[in-house]
Amino acid sequence: MTEQRKKLITLTVNEEVLSIPVESHWTLSRVLRNDCHHTGTKEACGEGACGACTVLINGVAVPACMVLAVEQDGKTIETIEGLSQNGELHPIQEAWLEEYGAQCGFCSPGMIMTTKYLLSRNMTPSDDEIKEALGGNICICNNYEHIINAVRSAARKMAKEQI
């Protein structure tokens, strides 16, 4: 497509400010994957039904396949790649490893980002609250018991870090 059809937008992706020419119909997940080279965000359904592509937009968990990139101009995006700092895993990632939260791992980036959003609002979620928060993230490997354990353990780790 010709360059004129594209609009230049600015996104802050994992603390890096990026100017990206996008076409009006491109989704955020497409732009993150193809143009920002952040392929950690996965696409499994492309229609908001599975949560694999979940990222945080201005701190809120959103399926990136369901929003247009042009509409995110000026916003702050966090993806799975931004979670670990200087090679140190985020406590949620640690918990995922410990509790075997990922089988094939395809749902994991989305699950982990949703968990980050949950724990940013509620540091001590009950099992029901965990289930409700992750209800939109499908794991076809059906690893849900391990995922609940991982969320619980992440909450504990993060509470400790805060003290």
């Binding site: 080279h37 392929t39 229609e47 410990e98 076809i140 490997c141 059906n142």
Partner: protein
């Protein structure tokens, strides 16, 4: 055996860190410079011939590089179409938008043909034939299952090929029986095998070699097929498949057969070789949904019993829908639930009549035990009916009759093995463990005793599943390298499709070498760098690859011990390996470091690595000699599943579902991984409770449920799974006494569900899925109407 250090521990996943950081590269994450994109034009008709196809306008769109049809690529595309979604053309362009626009400009003239939309329609007299000149209904040509009894033990001893598809005399069997249960038309809905990551690939030609980035269940098998299909030497193809976003059998690509929906490989491969540019060909979720499905069967089961509940006769008649071709294997798996395997203990007379039926639906693909869940659903529902009629507790009836260690396994082809025996069972322990957990003895009530709007029910079913496919062509190889710094690498091609094989195989290496698990590296991501490994199917990884890995590590260890023995001037038998190097067994303070054992390293001396190697001509240790082994022991996947649920008799809703999955895994090599495998029993719950059914519009052959909104999958909210991992170590068929685990979890769910529903409300549902509507119809609260089956 000395204490285990890695085996039996829930060590972290070998490649787990990559999975949780987003660094793990699945095929679509390889975004190559200058990569072209593909869109596929698919058939809008369930049966049609292409009369003409005009691609001139499409080809003229700027940015379009290639339009592929049956005219220029007759090996990949065909003129006759067999289902809605069948391959018509492909456009390769600079980006998806251009490809999509061009696709709309392809002009196709079709001649519509008559089609068949269901198993029943396909078998009607004079029905249109899906494939010209081929009967829609085919007998499964697998003549097996004939055995004689050992006069001393009373157990079956040998089997020989038979046209009868069974053993004993079925008529005589039913004459002898005190009770006969004859259940007809148990129907398992047409379902979609799931995989989180949609299928696809990227092909890249580097001047000498075609690199294919994709997912895989068995990259060497798939590569050989692809090379053959493309007409190039196998040595020219490198299959790259580091991570696979689940598979469950459906990603087993077979590009040679156009009725198996792995067309993306041919499209990308041919286009790439032609254009000499990287070509990406992905399936969307909708394309995924129309490309390959599973289940869909009708089964009649007739079982004869003695007064005391001993099962003596079984007659099973099974029709498995395979759509327009695809995988025909499931038909055979259905037999595993019968007297051939699961009830081999007492069953004297058996007949298993199995057919597969073509229709103009999408071609069938593998999915977690395919065939076995259908057969188990039918047999285990009928067993439950029998339990109520005989007045025997459903758990007890199964305990009396289920397979035990030493029983014959007639599920394998006798042309390969004269006799196969079950090496360990433990089903009875699984039944006890589950019953105890649910307090079955005290809480189980006959449905007649239940009142009130909400009724609680409990049901049980048992299963036996694959665990490797013994026979030629199912070999696996492994290489283990030990380095002078005391680390080691496993080089093998076993696929990790989420079941944890990479982790478990590294645990085996660590254990054999006495090294910490952390020091074991893994080379497994492409065909060029790895030796052959068989397809991960039938839950064979722990078994077939496990032996190869074990023996390769033993071989490498032996070499290092010999080297150190030379340096130290002692016998190798006096030495052992551990983290520090090579030590005297009786005097651990005496020894040499790895570097010392290897000699001085450098350009002009010393050794850089020691390589151990092994080919497992499965299954070890009963390798095939003259193509046929006298005796082989099969570990089997086996266990019991309980479903506990509540039914609202006013709305027909099923609530509070708890799945208790008990499985004997021999030795759990990694308990957390094993528990995760048992959690997949939710797949059955999808089909049972969420109403999963791939609904086809019979007027035009379109799939009405081609997405995850209309075709739902269990979420974290839907039900709970309580896995009970039973360990009865010592299965002689594995170096660490482990048996397989993975596919079995999906087998018993539908029967256990049907049985629990009956136990709650006294209504026997013999057709899946179990919708609120079907429950209310069963209760007589509403009348049947609507969808015809």
């Amino acid at each position: 055996m000395t204490e285990l250090t890695s085996i039996g521990k829930s060590v972290r996943q070998k490649d787990g860190r990559a999975r949780v950081t987003g660094e793990a590269r699945y095929y679509a994450d390889f975004i190559l410079p200058g990569m072209l994109r593909t869109r596929i034009l698919r058939s809008p008709y369930p049966a049609a011939d292409i009369l003409s196809i005009d691609t001139t306008e499409a080809q003229a769109v700027p940015g379009v590089h290639l339009v592929m049809t049956h005219e220029n690529y007759p090996t990949a595309f065909r003129k006759s179409l067999y289902y809605v979604g069948d391959l018509v053309a492909a456009v390769i362009a600079d980006d998806e938008t251009i490809a999509e626009e061009a696709m709309g400009l392809i002009r196709v003239e079709y001649e519509k043909k008559k089609f068949v939309a269901s198993l029943e329609d396909a078998m009607k007299e004079g029905a249109p034939q899906v494939f010209e000149g081929v009967d829609n209904c085919q007998d499964w040509a697998f003549h097996a299952y004939l055995s004689d009894r050992d006069p001393e033990t009373g157990l079956f001893k040998t089997k020989t090929p038979s046209d009868y598809n069974g053993f004993g005399d079925i008529d005589e069997g039913f004459e002898e029986a005190d009770y006969i249960i004859d259940q007809k038309a148990l129907k398992y809905a047409y379902c979609k095998g799931p995989a989180m990551e949609p299928r696809g690939c990227t092909a890249d030609f580097d001047g000498t070699k075609l690199h294919v980035y994709t997912h895989s269940q068995g990259m060497h098998d798939e590569k050989l097929c692809l090379a053959q299909a493309l007409g190039i030497p196998s040595s020219m193809v490198n299959y790259v498949a580091p991570f696979t976003g689940s598979s469950f059998g459906g990603k087993n690509a077979f590009p040679l057969d156009r009725n198996i929906a792995s067309h993306y490989l041919m499209i990308a491969g041919l286009a790439c070789l032609h254009l000499k540019k990287p070509v990406h060909c992905p399936y969307s979720r909708e394309e995924e949904m129309v490309s390959g499905w599973s289940r869909g069967s009708r089964t009649d089961v007739k079982i004869g019993f003695k007064k005391d509940g001993t099962l003596t006769t079984m007659d099973m008649s099974h029709w498995q829908e395979t759509g327009s071709g695809g995988d025909k294997y499931p038909a055979k798996n259905a037999m595993l639930a019968t007297g051939a395997v699961l009830y081999s203990r007492n069953c004297k007379h058996l007949r298993g009549k199995i057919r597969y039926v073509n229709t103009n639906r999408q071609p069938a693909a593998g999915w977690q035990g395919y065939g076995a869940p259908e057969g188990t659903f039918a047999v285990e529902t009928t067993m439950d009916i029998a339990a109520y009629e005989l007045g025997i507790d459903p758990v007890e009836l199964r305990k009396m009759n289920c397979m035990r260690a030493g029983d014959i396994d007639s599920g394998w082809d006798p042309l390969v093995y004269k006799s196969a025996f079950i090496s360990s069972s433990g089903i009875r322990d699984c039944l006890d463990a589950g019953a105890e957990k649910l307090d079955w003895k005290n809480t189980w009530q006959h449905p007649k005793e239940k009142t009130g709007r909400i009724r609680h029910g409990m049901g049980v079913a048992i299963f036996a599943m694959g665990a490797g496919r013994p026979g030629p062509g199912n070999s696996s190889e492994a290489m283990v390298k030990i380095y002078p710094d005391g680390s080691a690498a496993l080089v093998c091609a076993v696929a990790d499709i989420g079941q944890g094989q990479h982790t478990v195989q590294c645990q085996i290496v660590a254990e054999v070498l006495g090294l910490p698990y952390k020091k074991i590296g893994l080379v497994c991501h492409d065909t060029d760098s790895t030796p052959f490994a068989t397809l991960v199917a039938n839950s064979c990884g722990t078994w077939i690859q496990g032996w190869a890995t074990f023996e390769a590590a033993m071989d490498a260890k032996k070499q290092v011990l010999a080297m150190a023995a030379g340096v130290m001037g002692v016998a190798p038998a006096e030495l052992e390996l551990n983290e520090k190097g090579v030590r005297m067994i009786n005097d651990p303070d005496r020894g040499v470091t790895f570097a010392e054992a290897f000699g001085a390293r450098g350009h002009y001396g010393g050794i850089h690595e020691v390589t151990g190697y092994y080919v497992n001509n499965s299954p070890h240790p009963n390798g095939l000699k003259d193509g046929r082994s006298d005796q082989v022991f099969i570990p089997k996947e086996k266990g019991a599943q309980f479903i506990s649920l509540d039914i609202d008799t006013e709305t027909g809703m099923i609530e509070n579902v708890l799945v208790t999955m008990a499985q004997n895994v021999g030795k759990a090599l990694n308990p957390k991984i094993v528990a995760g495998q048992l959690s997949t029993s939710r797949h059955g719950v999808d089909n049972a409770m969420l109403g999963n059914d791939c609904i086809m519009d019979k007027r035009n052959g379109w799939l009405m449920t081609p997405n995850w909104v209309d075709y739902r999958h269990t979420t974290i909210m839907e039900c709970d799974v309580d896995p009970i991992v039973i360990e009865k170590p010592g299965d002689p068929t594995h170096p660490f006494g482990a048996t397989a685990c993975g596919e079995g979890a999906a087998c018993p769910t539908l029967a256990a569900f049907s049985n629990a529903i009956y136990n709650a409300i006294g209504v026997r549902l013999t057709q899946t899925p179990y919708t609120p509507e079907s429950i209310l119809i069963g209760l007589g609260k509403i009348e049947a109407r609507g969808r015809k089956k």
